[in-house]
Amino acid sequence: MSIAATQKRGFGTVLWDYLTTVDHKKIAHLYLFGGGFFFLLGGLEALFIRIQLITPENDFLSAGLYNEMITMHGTTMIFLAAMPLLLGLMNAVMPLQIGARDVAFPFLNSLGLWLFMFGGILLNLSWFLGGAPDSGWTSYAPLSIQSPGHGVDFYVLGLQIAGAGTLIGGINFLATVVTMRAPGMTYMRMPLFTWATFITSVLILFAFPALTVGLFLLMFDRMFGSAFFDVALGGNTIIWQHLFWIFGHPEVYILILPAFGLFSDIFSTFSRKRLFGYTAMVFATMLIAFLGFMVWAHHMFTVGLGPVANSIFAIATMAIAVPTGIKIFNWLATMWGGSIKINSAMLWSLGFIPTFTIGGMTGVMLGSSVADYQYHDTYFVVAHFHYVIVGGTVFGILAGLHYWWPKMFGRILHEGMGKFTFWVFMIGFHLTFFIQHFLGLMGMPRRYWVFLEDQGLDLGNLISTIGAFLMAIAVIVFLYNVVHTAIKGDKAPADPYDGRTLEWTTASPPAHYNFKQLPLVRGLDPLWIEKTEGKGKMTPAEPLGDIHMPNGSILPFIMSLGFFIAGIGFIFQVDHSAWLIAVYVGMAIAIGCMLIRSLKDDHGHHIHKEELEREAD
């Protein structure tokens, strides 16, 4: 269904369609919308932080508000912006890349989305209901236990709900890749983005439970008088740090691996060359994911774990540089000898290489534990993780958006504006963060509400703030580009980039069943194979027949709403037990929805062969 056709329907119909949809493509739209909204919110918070730090001893924000700002900036960007945007891209593209008609569990897909939405809303409601969390996105105990007000309670419940959504999403993608690949699409023929989605889902499956446990312990400590992190009663605060980073470090790879995947696809497409060292790339991704679970304590070098632990984690951390280096060189080798076309998507990918190389290098430097005693918790670390997460993940998201925009929305983003966005963002980014490496070493710890006069930190901070505004300008231009494209962008053909993988064999945007007939895959880069050795289009793997599709449902939305209401109840029952009613009502709604879902059979619907035959190819 094209955008034009959608617009002819009433607003109410469209809204209901989106609230009840289980179509992976529409869920992708919602993830991108939600993640995009929170990205703007997190960006605004970043600007406030940079305005506060534009001059020494500034009083633009109060100390307490500043701590809320940094906490919400980090939490929002990681959990509510970067991850949902990536989940959006995965949803939009991965089923197409493996030649599937939808994900394995469309209902769960919708549930995961709405849990994320309601979790994000709950967390951000804290701004209006007595103050946001203020213990940093890492929420270290006992600061988070002692934090007054309900800020940290919103953090706990908001992330618990959003996190459940992510976990559901991860399980769903795993099942999809395992069970729904088209005939001939063996594991070693999957595009790298699909591989990245698969491995990222494994990371989600094993990493998020650690966060869930940590959040529950924190919740019990704050609300129900337990003492897991209360030293006076025999608790231990270091346990929180372990739980958080056992989740937190794989989380970094949850953010970066999908970007690695889509860069691989983009380099290959725009160099008109097969990905160099495909097998090595797949195994490097796996190795990074595996090592990602072995290095969490490098966030804790200064905790006092002792020299043995510090040495082991230092070496494990440095080891990650090896598979990452393999990837960088394979990308360069992919382009070597190719026929490189540079458009917006490719620009973001090309910008990623030097930027991420710097981020990876500072990562190894941080892995050297004794050097880390100086870097730790300073602006050096701030610079490092922005080089990795912005230079990797955000560049990746923007590359992916420019690359797949035609597939997702049927129109091509304006190239001129796309290039302008890239250059302004790229320059702004390096202005903001390059200097911060030095600010950190010059004695500026992170999370500092003010820095003092006459400490040699003024110029660096000023430059950093100027850069942040350049990035803001770039984002505004990108938003304008999106609106402009929606109104009068060029209509996209099915395969606008001379693509190589299955998503380019369907219409832009694809029909809601994706493939009229499932394609037969004959090797890596199936479309490319057909273009060079076949008839230029996919051979069907099945005769034209009825297509079985799932029905939409409002239950995921209502179920998530139930958890949201219960979350509010949990937060405020500390003040007055009457709020327990909200807990009961919310849980009743959620469990009621589960019962309905379990007891009421929903067999989906069929699109009949005759209908399919009527539609043009």
Partner: protein, 350 residues
């Protein structure tokens, strides 16, 4: 292509220029000019790792630039299909083995330094200071001596000083960038690290773990003096008479007001290991007020009248009767006269 590289180059030039202008930061604060053992160990690894990483960066950028210059699609090549290469075993082995070697070159000295800095087997032969981190000030209890200080830590140069650190509330992290890397100050277990300053001077210390609203104002100073001066200072501190009456009338009023307004319930003048508030024995010698304000009487009066406006979230606010301007002024006069030693931050800074 030239446009891209041009912009990239100008970006780096700009950054480099900014660096030259800013120098390496403020002396005795920056980690880039190490003046102590720990900071030097870290700096050696920082330099080694930077060199290794720059080598990698140069190789990557070199290939990157060549690729972008040689292999861009040119006019007339719209239909050119490049050779589809699957991979190259030799090349892939090379760029796996070389990084492994580079990592090993960095790993060996890292492990050696980690064990070296964690070695506290000789702690009992050296000066030991029990450090307590509090929201938002530092307490230093000299083990084996009958005195304590807050905010200013005096150490002799050229000697290892072991800091045994514990927090009274949330997690803090003690960092003296020019002298030593940081270590967390946890509420549940004592963390030990040693510091050694090479030169006399006043060094900035910072809290590096978010500990509340005034985290960024939890500064302290390390006063490194010669071993002889240090011995003199210890003697001076031990011979303080906490009951001594000040000379002039204003300060005497101040002492009376100090006692009337229950300041003593938290603060001690003279030895008191269990400190709720900072120990004030040598307050008049302190390098800063509240950790970061210049030691002027006006700043002290402002602090006494309204500490909340200076250090949000501090534990002093609201825990003493409201002071009149006169009272605050006389208390300030009294406190500024608590100068037991000739060895001060000022003398050390010269």
């Amino acid at each position: 292509m030239r446009g891209w590289m041009g912009k990239f180059k100008s970006l780096f030039l700009l950054s480099a220029l900014a660096l030259v202008l800013a120098g390496c930061g403020k002396e005795n604060l920056t980690a880039l000019v190490p003046k102590g053992y720990g900071a030097e160990s870290s700096m050696n690894l920082i330099i080694l790792s930077t060199i290794i990483m720059l080598f990698v960066f140069v190789v990557v950028i070199l290939v990157y630039v060549i690729v972008l210059i040689r292999f861009r699609r040119k006019k007339g090549q719209e239909n050119y299909i490049p050779k589809q290469v699957e991979g190259n075993k030799t090349l892939e082995t090379v760029w796996t083995i070389i990084p492994i070697i580079l990592v090993l070159i960095l790993a060996v000295p890292t492990v050696a330094a980690t064990f070296d800095l964690a070695d506290d087997s000789n702690a009992s032969e050296h000066i030991n200071v029990d450090v307590t981190g509090n929201q938002y000030w530092w307490h230093f209890d000299y083990a084996g001596e009958e005195f304590q200080t807050s905010q200013d830590l005096y150490i002799p140069t050229g000697e290892k000083v072991y800091l045994n650190m514990l927090s009274s509330d949330v997690i803090h992290s003690l960092w003296i960038p020019s002298i030593s890397g940081k270590m967390d100050v946890n509420p549940e277990n004592v963390n030990t690290m040693y510091i050694e300053a090479y030169e006399e001077g006043v060094y900035w210390g910072k809290c590096a773990e978010l500990c509340g609203p005034s985290h960024s104002l939890m500064d302290f100073k390390v006063i490194a003096v010669s071993p002889e001066e240090y011995d003199q200072w210890v003697e001076d501190m031990q011979s303080v008479d906490p009951e001594a009456e000040p000379q002039d009338a204003v300060a005497q009023d101040g002492k009376a007001a100090f006692e009337e307004n229950s300041c003593m319930s938290c603060h001690a003048i003279g030895s008191s290991p269990a400190a709720v508030g900072p120990n004030l024995t040598n307050f008049g010698d302190r390098s800063k007020i509240a950790g970061f304000l210049d030691p002027t009487k006006k700043n002290l009066v402002d602090w006494l009248m309204d500490p909340e406006s200076i250090k949000p979230g501090n534990k002093m606010t609201g825990n003493y009767p409201e002071l009149s301007e006169d009272e605050a002024s006389s208390i300030a006069e009294y406190l500024m006269q608590l100068q037991p030693s000739e060895i001060t931050p000022e003398s050390a800074g010269k």
